[in-house]
């Protein structure tokens, strides 16, 4: 049964199709479910696409609203992880979601920090929670958990109530 869409589909800017036309070999898949235009990219084209949507006059994505990851272990995704970024353009008032699959064995994605400074903390959080490293990141430390913490809690194989011993006061 098709899910009804609450958005006016005629008003959508179809950015995902434009990006696919621009980078035909780098785009794995596009969709616009629920009106969210989404492009799934190869990891090798992650930076190309980011540069393009930042500079192209039809896109002008000047805000990196959010960057996160999804662990697809329980859904048997191959590759296991997906890094998801949401962009927004204040000039055109439109949004775009970029995703890229990341393999568990080689969990590295090029960083977006040089293009959008907001990526700095978002990527640190993804490293902390999922263990995905960002190549070229200036300061990839844990963000939310403490340094003594072992493992990456938002991975599906980290048990939700697996507690680690309390650390004592420092000094």
């Amino acid at each position: 049964m098709p899910v009804p869409c609450l958005f006016d589909q005629n008003k959508m800017p179809n950015l995902h199709e434009q990006l696919k036309a621009k980078l035909p070999e780098g785009v794995l898949e596009i969709h616009a479910q629920h009106g969210d235009e989404t492009v799934v990219l190869r990891r090798a084209n992650w930076i190309d696409a980011a540069l393009f949507i930042r500079e192209d006059p039809a896109f002008r994505m000047n805000v990196l609203m959010d960057l996160t990851a999804v662990d697809g272990r329980d859904l048997k995704w191959k590759p296991r992880f997906e890094v998801v970024a949401h962009f927004y353009s204040t000039e055109h008032n439109h949004r775009l979601r970029l995703k890229t699959p990341v393999d568990e064995k080689d969990a590295v994605v090029p960083t977006l920090t040089n293009l959008w400074p907001s990526a700095n903390w978002f990527e640190r959080e993804v490293w902390d929670m999922f263990g995905i490293r960002f190549d070229g990141h200036p300061d990839l430390r844990r963000l939310l958990m403490y340094t003594e913490f072992k493992g990456h809690p938002l991975r599906k194989d980290y048990l939700w109530n697996k507690r680690q011993p309390l650390i004592g006061p420092k000094n």
Binding site: L6, D36, T68, V84, N93, P117
Partner: protein, 463 residues
């Protein structure tokens, strides 16, 4: 006996000359740690500042002291059970979080709530936004020594908490919104009490405005302090009053109107300098605009149900069977049945691999749950593990305007009764990330007003 200069080590003749002193003096910057538990930090965050004299040369912010694993807990519980967790994200304006989460799940379902529910959501969101701004402005004024303003604003907040309590039954952690509507209708006489409370709050705001806005000490502490440029603010993905104080008029309520925000006449206050004082003025003005929205909403609000009755267009299979058994077939003749192997216990085994959309989303009204067996069963069917509501497979991102900026929920559904992944885009996260940049060049004492204007909320920052 006369003293010789050699006897007095402080005699000008024995002191080294200026140049030697300068040559001998070694300068190095000092590291000063503020927090995690500090009286001027409402919230727990640790700021490590590098000081040259009193000037902040560099700063590093450490967060995560209130990490309560919201995103992990959301993956463990059903869609409806996430709602109480969202209350505790931004605990100063919990209603906006509630409503934002429910809107995101509704987007996954493709549901649209009833008109009355939309208006109620708008009214409650705006009341919440005012409580948030009252707390933020009051607390940051208190940290600068203006304790009176804080007392006045907490008094005003109390009027609004009483309103919220009369609608939701709780003061703070309200869990009021539901997927498909809101928990219950507004109580009788709410319009009058709400408008009365708004008048009283306006009076308090006016009083504080007279105390602070032209107060020399207050203005001097805020003006030209904590400045950030328009470009930097956008590059750091800062939203909300913090971004608007730099002159960008980005407000989700205007840019991507949700609920019924496109039907109201309201202004978006914009600053020009991007300093603490402009942020203070923006927040003060936004409260007035929120009141205007509430007043207009009361003019427009229609009567009607507040929780979506999802069998309006498409009816679940079991309801259809029930209706047919009772002989009421006129209503169902043209309705397409929805196969729902998950709720029909006996057929579940047969359809193990079939995944269908379950259109039922909303809990029955509490009167039904406590009053009759059908309501109770319906409720259990919605909340039991493995039985709850099941949005179709997919992903959705829904932004709402939180009190601190864009609050987005990104939900991935795998078709089961638990969300596969819930991600919150926390508004103050990006502002705290930009703090080192904002603090640089100001003096140490300016850390306090700047941090106050960030309005860092631990629950939302660390989740």
């Amino acid at each position: 006996m006369a003293l010789t200069p050699a006897d007095n080590p402080l005699h000008p003749a024995t002191l080294p000359d200026q140049e030697t002193v300068i040559k001998r003096t070694r300068t190095e910057s000092m590291l000063l740690n503020v927090g995690p538990q500090h009286p001027a930090m409402h919230g727990i965050v640790r700021i490590i500042t590098e000081l040259d004299g009193e000037e902040v040369v560099n700063a590093d912010v450490e967060i995560g002291y209130l990490h309560r694993a919201f995103e992990k807990m959301a993956e463990q519980s059903g869609y409806l059970q996430v709602i109480p967790y969202t209350d505790r994200l931004n605990y100063v304006s919990p209603l906006i979080n509630n409503i934002g989460y429910c809107l995101a799940v509704e987007k996954l379902f493709g549901l649209e709530t009833t008109e009355r529910a939309k208006y109620i959501r708008v009214i409650m969101s705006e009341i919440s936004r005012v409580t948030d701004h009252l707390t933020c402005v009051g607390a940051s004024a208190m940290e600068l020594g203006a304790f009176t303003a804080f007392l006045y604003f907490i008094k005003a907040r109390e009027y609004l908490y009483e309103l919220i309590e009369s609608v939701t039954g709780a003061r703070l952690t309200i869990s009021y919104s539901r997927v498909g509507g809101v928990k219950g209708d507004l109580p009788p006489g709410f319009r009058e009490s709400c408008l009365g409370a708004i008048e009283k709050t306006r009076k308090e705001i006016k009083e504080v405005d007279a105390l602070l806005t032209k107060n020399r000490i207050f203005v001097d502490r805020l003006k030209n302090v904590g400045r950030i440029s328009k470009e930097d603010a956008l590059a750091y993905a800062i939203t909300g009053p913090f971004l608007r104080s730099t002159g960008v008029d980005y407000d989700v309520r205007r840019a991507n109107p949700y609920l019924v925000y496109d039907r109201f006449d309201f202004e978006i206050p914009v600053g020009e300098h991007g300093d603490n004082f402009d942020r203070y003025l923006c927040r003060m003005e936004e409260m007035e605009q929120s009141f205007r929205i509430i007043e207009q909403a009361f003019e427009q609000i229609p009567e009607g149900p507040v929780l979506l009755d999802t069998d309006g267009t498409v009816m679940p299979g079991e309801t259809m069977v029930d209706e047919a058994k009772m002989g009421r077939i006129e209503n169902i003749r043209n309705v397409e049945a929805v196969i729902d192997p998950t709720l029909d216990g006996t057929t579940k085994v047969q359809y193990r691999n079939v995944e269908t959309v379950n259109k039922r989303a909303s809990l029955p009204p509490k009167e039904d749950t406590y009053g009759n067996i059908e309501g109770l069963m319906n409720h259990f069917k919605m909340v039991m593990m493995g039985h709850g509501i099941r949005p179709p497979k997919g992903e959705a991102y829904f932004p709402v305007e939180g009190a601190n900026g864009e609050l987005g929920f990104y939900i991935v559904s795998d078709g089961t009764d638990k969300p596969y992944r819930v991600r919150v885009r926390p508004p103050c996260f990006t502002i705290v990330a930009a703090l080192p940049l904002i603090l640089k060049g100001d003096s140490l004492a300016d850390v306090v007003p700047t941090f106050g204007s960030v309005n860092m909320i631990g629950g939302e920052l660390d989740r």
